[in-house]
């Protein structure tokens, strides 16, 4: 009886041992954990816009610069752009910058391919008299067309009345002024860059800086009238005006 009991117990334990060994590998619990985090950011605003008015600096037709007369005073016979003494453009080229970027910026305004109307210093035929031997002498270059760069509204968008004259003179003078301005036009983040500039021009009909003889000489050359003083176009005189203007606003690192 005792032998049987022991055999039974041994048999049961052996079965239990085998069963336990079988399940040990299948339901083994495993530790797992996880962690996560995040952060968000907005892209810094740029939003800078540049505008340059259509280049109608020199119109074919001009309104009179005197009150009471609204007719055309100067008109080109072949519809090419012309300038003449007494012609004034109220609003010539206009360019503007808008935006409040959240980054440091550098404003660069440059002028290239500048061409001024000029009669180079020298002696020329005086075509204001009937005597073909009469001459006149310029001791320095004569630039009849005066350009003015002015700021119409400030960097906060406020209109400036009157506009602030930044530089007046030849196109070359304005070009040099813009170069110097651009060299230091660095602005901190969140600066309101809103500003409007314009270039106006005038060819005075009369005044302290005018020269009737030189104006007449240039006018006759523009009209194609022959002359016998040996002056060569683009060497002794230039009859056309022109420029290219480039505006850039860049982020500064």
């Amino acid at each position: 009886m005792r032998k049987n009991r022991f055999l039974t117990i041994a048999g049961c334990l052996m079965v239990l041992c085998l069963l336990t060994t079988c399940v040990i590998g299948t339901t083994f619990a495993k530790y797992v954990t996880s962690g996560e985090t995040q952060d968000s950011a907005r892209v810094a605003k740029w939003g800078v816009q540049l505008q340059l008015a259509a280049n109608d600096l020199f119109k074919n037709e001009y309104a009179s610069n005197t009150s009471g007369y609204t007719g055309v005073t100067v008109k080109s016979h072949d519809d090419t752009d012309v300038v003449a003494p007494g012609t004034v453009e109220g609003v010539a080229a206009r360019f503007s910058i808008t935006g409040t970027p959240e980054v440091s910026t550098h404003v660069i305004i440059s002028m290239t391919n500048v061409k001024d109307v000029v009669l180079v210093a020298g002696t020329y035929l005086d075509e204001t008299t009937a005597d073909p031997s009469d001459v006149f002498t310029l001791t320095q270059n004569y630039y009849p067309v005066v350009f003015t760069l002015r700021q119409v509204s400030g960097y906060d968008g406020v209109t400036l009345t009157p506009p602030v004259v930044l530089k007046s003179g030849t196109l070359a003078d304005i070009r040099d002024w813009l170069t110097n301005y651009s060299a230091t036009a660095y602005y901190a983040p969140n600066t309101d860059l809103d500003a409007v500039f314009e270039i106006v021009w005038t060819w005075d009909f009369a005044g302290a800086n005018t020269n009737d003889k030189a104006d007449t000489y240039l006018g006759n050359r523009a009209a194609g009238i022959a002359h016998a003083d040996g002056a060569v176009e683009n060497t002794h005189y230039v009859l056309n005006v022109g420029f290219e203007i480039d505006i850039r606003v860049e982020q500064v690192d």
Binding site: F6, V32, T33, T37, D39, S40, R42, V103
Partner: protein, 291 residues
């Protein structure tokens, strides 16, 4: 009683005694086998039950497992629902001049900005873990998620030991590539690993038009990025696996890895069993000799 009868009786008595001795030998063997089986069963059950007991519970000769892994930074463990500080509201250049500044005081990013974030995976438990570190990235424009947008952000990830999980010392990886790559490592018991996540939006990234477009997008409808770090750790099949930087215990003792067998105690147990078995055998032998 006659001599033949006496001899017959003696033979019968001797046969009976021999049978009885044989029986006791069988019983002794059975007892030993039962005892060994019982111990084996108990041992296996102990290993089995140990998995369901509270963490850290020892089963005498099996060290209890106490797994514990935390992820966080210098401000503490990561908390669900709370963002960390990876991005800033302003950035300075090498001359300490602020070149990017949020008008609204919130975090932002721009060309030329570089970010760095340090975080730690700390295995405080007594078993090694395998852990995975993944980067997630999201770009939203005007409130809409743009999954396929190639945002010009680059990233690299390195450990305190100098090993790069993403990128290299002179190599940055596009965020779109980094977010689909899995990075798996091992962290030993009582060890930690520090990570430095670096992000850069290159100033001269080669695509000014894209940079400008993003800036204008932000000015008009909004442009936002979300960077996520996801970590996952699970028990290593080998509790004693090494990885990371070991944290020395205050008492200077080496860590006792969970799930490992205390061989000293096991050996002691077997010695006790052996002594018990021999004692029982000796008692039975003594009894047999009396017969």
């Amino acid at each position: 009683m006659s001599e033949p009868a006496q001899n017959g009786f003696n033979k019968q008595e001797n046969g009976k005694a021999a049978n009885e001795r044989r029986h006791w030998v069988y019983i002794m063997l059975l007892v030993v086998i039962v005892f060994i089986l019982l111990l084996m069963t108990l041992g296996i059950l102990a290993l089995r039950v140990e998995n369901y007991l509270p963490e850290g519970t020892d089963i005498v000769f099996v060290v209890g497992k106490s797994p514990s892994v935390e992820f966080g930074d210098e401000k503490g463990s990561w908390k669900s629902g709370l963002d960390v500080d990876i991005f800033k509201s302003y950035y300075e250049n090498d001359q300490q001049v602020v070149t990017v500044l949020s008008k609204e005081g919130d975090s932002l990013i721009a060309p030329g900005t570089q970010m760095q974030y340090y975080f730690i995976a700390y295995n405080k438990g007594n078993i090694a873990v395998t852990y995975e570190t993944d980067i997630d990235f999201l770009f939203e424009s005007a409130g809409q998620v743009k999954n396929d947008f190639a945002f010009p952000l680059k990233v690299r990830l390195k450990t305190d030991s100098g090993k790069y999980l993403i990128g290299g010392e002179s190599e940055w990886v596009d965020i779109s590539t980094a977010k689909v790559t899995k990075h798996v490592s091992v962290l030993g018991a009582s060890s930690y690993e520090g990570f430095t996540l670096e992000l850069i939006w290159a100033f001269e990234g080669g695509d000014d038009a894209l940079d400008t477009m993003l800036g204008n997008m932000s000015a008009s409808g909004g442009a936002k990025i979300t960077l996520g770090i996801e970590t996952y750790a699970e028990e290593h099949f080998e509790p004693t696996a090494q990885g990371g930087i070991v944290v020395e215990a205050e008492d200077g003792k080496p860590v006792e890895h969970g799930g490992t067998i205390r061989y000293f105690w096991l050996m002691l147990l077997f010695i006790c069993i052996a002594i018990l078995v021999f004692f029982i055998a000796w008692l039975l032998n003594k009894r047999l000799r009396k017969w």
